[in-house]
Symmetry: C2
Subunit: 308 residues, 2 copies
């Protein structure tokens, strides 16, 4: 018997998102809360999940549940070992772990991915693999560069629905700590968005192929000191500087793309799209429902594998 | 009449340091306190200086006072305009500003330096120019690279006692904010110094000529996650990663030196010397008294100029 609905959960460090998904992939209902890992007491994952999806559970008691994200990490519900790249839908499904969650029933946790770079240094993702798998169904067959901007931006190379490799950039977290805790943040008063300052930051970040961030950071101070960037625009400049550096670093390590696929919410998508356009890279944007689509694809593949 | 003593002050954002200096440059007495700019109420610079050096003032009422550092900035006692590079002792002395400080007498404030890099971005220093001038008297005649590690590390190219150009790297501040406020800091428990982890960080920071800091920062997390660096050693790794990146960035922008002169207190001197040695760059270390020597040289040149 094929269930008529499945429940997909994207459970991260700070956010809980769930989707009620029809057999054809349509998202019938959705909910989101701030009950990410940081908001869940140890041992309470099953209770929280039940509270969040109880109405769906009552209506569809047999709906399978698939959960991706940091919920499968050491700090989460249960650790699911990373799957090594290259990895596509088949490898990810083979790496899922089913747990018995009491009143909420059985839950299938999605593994994260790992890869080693050319220097032998490991990298990891948890949750983004599901978004990329969801987006990959609408990508072409050649190598595609997929970018997920954020606290820890991910850049992945995807071919034929498989994630070949990826890198993480701590852009968003660095911006946040510099804004809140550094001398640069103390220069930011009455900040307002300034596209020119952002663009100057992007260009400065890209100088020397991105090989100068420790040095260029200080320019946010000196350009303000010499009134070349007004105080309220320093935040825009710093944002551009970091995003420009990320793109310069990433397009050196991944082979330089003429176009990228961006999976992002609205605010970051606007900033990254502007930065990519300044550099001459075409952007195709995919919205946040890539997670729901990926969860649906994993759920469908789990069911198909179970039947065969 | 030549005064038999002068008082040199190195007055920074967080520290106040003063030296009683004989006519031949010998430091006869010294004091230091935490009454940097942040510890001085607006308008109270004269009072604070008088309180700090009162015994010297009573013994040598005619001793000239020379003060360098952030005390000459917009946030300090009185703003002294920056002097442009290239600049040596003559240009710095020509840029000093004498103020009447009431009971403490007249005080000569030393200007900072400014320079523009190849991209037209300004850089600045206040206080380090005095240390470099002090150290320059013991350097050879060719181009020398002088490094002053710290919250904002300075790298200067010096020839025949003149500062040709310099760059600032926000290494120390970035380390501090990442350790205290980022996810990397939360991984650091019971930190202890680990030379191997530090060395691995230096090497990783130098990969691709330093063009990868946003990406490499995440390695402090993943190497810990995979138990390739023990938790207590992550802080050493991050320190090495940032210092290695600084050296890689700086030796791309300054022409790669085979040796550098390091002006630094003991703790940072140990870390930077280890990093430079790993990379094969010879280090000559000059201790903190470079500031006293520079203040003495400036005071002597001021007196000589006044006489002629």
């Amino acid at each position: 018997v094929t269930a008529t609905r499945m429940i997909g959960v994207d459970w991260g460090t700070t956010r809980f998102r769930a989707y009620l998904i029809a057999a054809d992939g349509t998202v019938c209902d959705r909910r989101a809360s701030d009950r990410g890992l940081l908001g869940v007491a140890p041992g309470a994952f099953g209770c929280v999940l039940q509270e969040e999806v109880a109405p769906w559970r009552r209506a569809y008691p047999d709906a399978p549940v698939v959960a991706a994200g940091m919920v499968g990490s050491r700090q989460g519900w249960k650790e699911v070992p990373y799957v090594s790249c290259p990895a596509g839908l088949a490898e990810i499904v083979a790496g899922t772990l089913e747990i018995d969650a009491g009143e909420v029933g059985r839950v299938r946790l999605v593994p994260g991915l790992t890869v080693r770079d050319e220097a032998g240094i490991p990298d990891v993702m948890r949750g983004e693999e599901t978004q990329i798998i969801g987006a990959a169904s609408s990508l072409g067959g050649g190598d595609e560069v997929v970018v997920l901007p954020g606290t820890h931006s991910k850049w992945a190379t995807v071919r034929d629905g498989r994630i070949l490799a990826f890198s993480t950039f701590m852009t968003g977290e660095l911006f946040a700590v510099l804004r809140s805790h550094s001398i640069l943040g103390r220069l930011m008063n009455d900040s307002r968005a300034d596209n020119d300052a952002f663009a100057r930051g992007v260009r400065t970040g890209g100088l020397e192929g991105g090989a100068g961030l420790l040095r260029r950071l200080f320019s946010a101070r000196t350009l303000g000191l010499f009134d070349e960037i007004p105080g309220p625009s320093i935040e825009s400049y710093l944002s551009g500087l970091l995003i420009g550096t990320e793109i310069a670093e990433a397009t050196k390590t991944v082979s330089p793309p003429s176009a990228v696929t961006l999976i992002s919410g609205a605010t970051l998508a606007t900033a990254y799209t502007r930065a990519f356009e300044l550099i001459g890279i075409t952007v195709r944007r995919i919205d946040d429902d890539a997670a729901a689509r990926g969860l649906w694809m994993i759920g469908r593949e789990v069911a198909r594998t179970a039947r065969s």
